[in-house]
Amino acid sequence: MRPLVRLPGAAPLLLLSSLAVLGLLVVLPLAVVFQQAFSKGVAAYLAPLADPDALAAIRLTLLVAAIAVPLNAVFGLAAAWTIARFEFKGRTLLLTLIDLPFSISPVVSGLVWVLLFGAQGLFGALLQAWGVKIIFATTGLVLATILVTLPFVARELIPLMQDQGADEEAAALTLGAGGAAVFTRVTLPKVKWALLYGVLLCNARAMGEFGAVSVVSGHIRGLTTTLPLHIEVLYNDYDFVGAFAAATLLASLGLITLVVKTALEWRFADELAAFRRR
């Protein structure tokens, strides 16, 4: 189908300009992460990664994502089942609420938890009396991460399931399958790649989230610093090699996510919401 409009002589110019913009604005920052991390040699790169605080940060990042992502995946399935399979009043409002976390600042997504559970927050005194710590503790990090990444799975599943319709589920029911069997044997296989796609993006954001967790973390080294916060701590200490070494881990996570995402888009375009209509 291409090219339709030829714009004589413009093709090489546009291609070169696009390459220049993407190279300068997008690829160069990625390259500089690795260049800076290895600027003092491989040994200097590996040392900060073996540091106990770095290892604690990696563990905490994995733990937070391991709690937040499955919860948001279950929520995404429940929300998609509700919205894409039933007609009821208030569906649009529900959709707006699900989208909301995408349009508020990550810092605000952290702030709200401080307003609720911080020392001078709504439940601050109560929590103190009970001896429960949420802010400046893992629970706060998990809550902030859940809020920021809430829409990813639901946003991928809802349009796809609306598009697919409920005919097959209905057929399975009339053939005598139970509700649980319909969900696990009919619905889940139909949406499995979209679910994986949503979980992939949700996980990447959960592990890389900075603003929201920064507000609730308190930056206690080895205890409440996730990997992105660990980068900030090292950077502010002028330990640039250490900061960029930690950054290579997150950059690699981003690259792997991008590769898997692109592979899913090429291979299963028909089973992903965003590409179905193309």
Binding site: Q162, E169, S214
Partner: protein
């Protein structure tokens, strides 16, 4: 047709699980989104109306809000032609490496913001390769509003490209062919046929880039330098106020950001609807 099929099956007795799924969805949304945001909406008023007003008209707060919203708007607007060019190149030309280039567009989505922040700073700091180059011609990039702008440009670019790409791909060949047979030149066809069809998607892409840029934190704070009144963004001011245990002041700034951003999005949606209406007639 599909909606009719769903309508037929909407009775809870036929497709099971409605009460359970709805209950789960509402409980989760309530706990994670509704209650926390309600607290954000209510907390500032503990200062009283006059207190909120004086908290928001503090010169440092005004400067931060102005910086956040103007640089976000500028970056989103500059992303428009850049995104348009990249989207056009990716959909209209076939060249080796096209799919790789296409995948690279998503890099700003995939790169965690703190990583992007320190990387951009390393590039644009006075001793960084690009920063030194700019310094030679007397332009200060990092630790100036221009640094904030560069970070927001980076963050917003994929929104514009991804918004217009599907429209460019679907654009009816015949319309362009018709314009050609009627004697329209190449430039005329782009200007009079392609751009009007793209306009609603372009506006929504710019709107998304703007919304993301206003609240952006991680990729900005490293490159900004964070000088009060000059390069301090609004989200950073929230963090500073929280560190001073000024919860109500922090909530006031947060609420102001949400309200202004919401107003801007409503305006953008209205513009988009108008442009879409024009395209159809």
């Amino acid at each position: 047709m599909k909606s009719a099929a769903i309508a037929r099956w909407r009775e809870p007795s036929v497709l099971p699980g409605f009460p359970l799924a709805l209950g789960l969805t509402l409980a989760y949304l309530g706990a994670i989104v509704v209650v926390p945001l309600a607290v954000l909406a209510l907390k500032p008023w503990s200062l009283g109306i006059a207190g909120v007003w004086s908290a928001l008209t503090e010169p440092r707060v005004l400067a931060a809000l102005r910086l956040s919203f103007t640089t976000a708007a500028l970056a989103a607007l500059v992303d428009a032609p850049l995104g348009l060019m990249i989207g056009w190149t990716l959909t209209r030309y076939e060249f080796p490496g096209r799919r790789l280039l296409d995948a690279l567009v998503d890099l700003p989505f995939a790169l965690p913001t703190a990583v992007a922040g320190i990387a951009l700073t390393a590039l644009y700091a006075p001793n960084g390769p690009l920063g030194a180059l700019a310094a030679k011609v007397g332009i200060k990039t990092a630790y100036s509003p221009l640094g904030v702008f560069i970070a927001l440009l980076f963050v917003g670019l994929p929104f514009v490209v991804r918004a217009i790409q599907p429209v460019l791909e679907d654009l009816d060949q015949e319309v362009e062919e018709a314009a050609r047979t009627l004697g329209a030149s190449d430039l005329q066809r782009v200007w009079r046929v392609v751009l009007p069809a793209l306009a609603p998607a372009l506006v929504s892409g710019v709107g998304l880039a703007f919304a993301r840029a206003v609240g952006e934190y991680g990729s900005v704070i490293f490159i900004a330098g964070n000088m009060p009144m000059r390069t301090e963004i609004a989200p950073l001011l929230i963090v500073i106020k929280l560190e001073e245990f000024d919860y109500a002041g922090a909530a006031a700034v947060g609420l102001a950001m949400v309200v202004i951003a919401f107003g801007a999005l409503v305006a953008i949606n209205a513009l988009q609807a108008r442009l879409a209406g024009h395209g159809r007639t």
